[in-house]
């Protein structure tokens, strides 16, 4: 656990210096604040932009940042130096995961400013779960790729599907039906109702299947590739 804390500390120091990742973290929270305050259209659902951007935030920020962090350390071989100093792979992954999750939760906290009372808590719950799933997905990509380039080329399509499908499904029935199988779309539905009691059985099932698939994928890539 001490080693994970060291990783978190290192990442915190790196946050402000690593622009590509920093942008991932602050883009959607800032866009949310701006859009919610600047645009008012008659008949638009309440907190439309907050909910829209929240789902995109889940699909993008943790996925790209975790994949970028891990693949960069692999490319530069700094990860190898860590392992040689007896940091265990899981301690490392845990450190990166906790770091990204925490930063994303802070971002979500900024986006939650439109909500009131209990809604904030419910919102943060959904966001927290979404971040965890995306972090596992990002870790899979990071472990699988040996360079930042290859990580980016893998992350791009995954990110597109996960974050844009829920948005496009507002306008297109077909896409809506397909995107139901992704956790991001299910989280979108949850965010719309914003109540823990009214979650459908289907949502639970889809989320569970998504988590299981990603966990299995994670175990397979981790077993085959390790962190070397």
């Amino acid at each position: 656990m001490r080693n994970s804390l060291i990783i978190i500390k290192k990442q915190l120091k790196d946050t402000l210096k690593n622009r590509t990742i920093l942008i991932q973290f602050i883009l959607f929270p800032i866009m949310t604040l701006v859009m919610e305050n600047a645009i008012r259209i008659e008949g638009m659902p309440e907190l439309f932009f907050t909910k829209l951007f929240s789902v995109m935030y889940i699909g993008m920020a943790p996925l790209t940042s975790v994949a970028a962090i891990i693949s960069e350390e692999k490319e530069k071989n700094t990860l190898r130096v860590m392992m040689m100093a007896n940091v265990k792979p899981l301690q490392y992954l845990l450190g990166v995961g906790i770091y990204v999750w925490t930063i994303c939760m802070i971002g979500a906290g900024v986006m939650a400013t439109g909500f009131r009372g209990r809604d904030i808590l419910t919102y943060m719950c959904f966001m927290g779960v979404g971040f965890v799933i995306s972090i596992v997905a990002g870790a899979c990509v990071g472990i699988f790729s040996t360079s930042q380039m290859s990580a980016t080329s893998l992350v791009m399509p995954a990110m597109m599907v996960l974050s844009f499908a829920p948005m496009l499904s507002m306008f297109n029935e077909r896409i809506a039906r397909i995107s139901q199988i992704f956790y991001t779309q299910q989280l979108r539905i949850c965010l719309d109702t914003l109540s823990l009691d009214s979650i459908e059985k289907e949502t639970y099932i889809v989320m569970a299947v998504n988590i299981v698939i990603l966990m299995v994928l994670f175990c397979i890539t981790y077993k085959h590739k390790g962190l070397e």
């Binding site: 080693n3 290192k10 790196d14 210096k17 130096v81 040689m84 100093a85 007896n86």
Partner: protein, 281 residues
């Protein structure tokens, strides 16, 4: 301290190491010399348990390499060519991370930075350092936790002579503190200057090993003397009586500008044994 017995390693159907035997005692600098592609890095990776070997026996500090505990690993320092730095972080922060991992106090960081000659650069980002400075920062990272065994893969390759000398000095100081150092190089001058023992590696085999001077003397068959005369003439003479008389004559007449005895260096020994040059790419 380091012991290898019949180590074999192949990548696919390419045999990279064909039966390596080594015994390195505590407190010495051991140099592994060989041309590019000889398998030096591969051997270091095997000795540091970064690579699994096909067969043989490898022991470090008396234990098989894959059985080393976390405590044992803290007594080992490794610098590989490919091991990078956290480029966006400062020198101080780079070292702080590893000070935390090794559980040593941050107060020693400025000390070690001074030691490797980076005292002024502590706040600079690692990416803003020159190549020689980066190499010294990597050495600081290796030395920081006072390891007993240090593995250095081509610690000075691609550096200017001054940085190279600075690094040689650091390595020798570490030896004087009782560390065992294993380094690879394809620079024979470096090997001769630093190492107590060297092994010449060619195509996965150790073709010669021992004390550098002894190896050179052993291969000194030609034993010639070469002279540059005042007339501008270059002559070469064997080591014998007739030559001695001729040299005596020349010296008496004041004809000799320079005189050298041919001592093979590690470079020529290597060339003789393998027909290959060390530095060839």
């Amino acid at each position: 301290m380091i012991h290898c017995e019949d180590v074999l390693k192949s990548f696919g159907d390419k045999n990279v190491l064909n039966g390596i035997n080594l015994d390195i005692e505590e407190g010495q600098i051991f140099g592994l010399l060989g041309p590019s592609g000889a398998g030096k890095t591969t051997l270091i990776k095997i000795l540091t348990n970064q690579l699994i070997f096909d067969s043989g026996n490898v022991k470090v500090m008396g234990k098989p390499v894959n059985k080393l505990t976390g405590e044992d690993k803290k007594k080992i320092g490794i610098m590989m060519d490919s091991f990078g730095l956290y480029e966006r972080l400062s020198c101080n922060d780079n070292l702080k991370i590893f000070a935390d991992i090794y559980g040593i106090s941050h107060s020693c960081i400025s000390e070690i930075l001074n030691y490797v000659g980076l005292g002024e650069a502590g706040k600079r980002a690692a990416s803003k350092l020159s190549k020689g400075m980066q190499a010294r920062l990597k050495l600081a990272r290796v030395f920081m936790h006072n390891p007993k065994i240090i593995f250095l893969d081509e610690p000075t390759s691609g550096l200017d002579p001054q940085s190279m000398k600075a690094i040689h000095k650091l390595i020798l100081e570490k030896k004087n503190m009782g560390c065992t150092i294993f380094l690879t190089t394809h620079n024979m001058e470096e090997a001769a200057a630093l190492c107590d023992n060297v092994a010449l590696l060619n195509e996965g085999r150790i073709v010669e090993c021992g004390v550098p001077e002894e190896i050179c003397r052993k291969y000194n068959h030609q034993k010639t003397l070469s002279m540059h005369l005042a007339s501008g003439e270059e002559i070469e003479l064997p080591h014998n009586k007739e030559a001695a008389e001729k040299i005596f004559e020349l010296l008496k007449k004041g004809m000799v500008e320079t005189i050298h005895s041919s001592e093979p260096n590690l470079e020529t020994v290597f060339l003789e044994i393998t027909g290959r040059k060390l530095e060839e790419a």
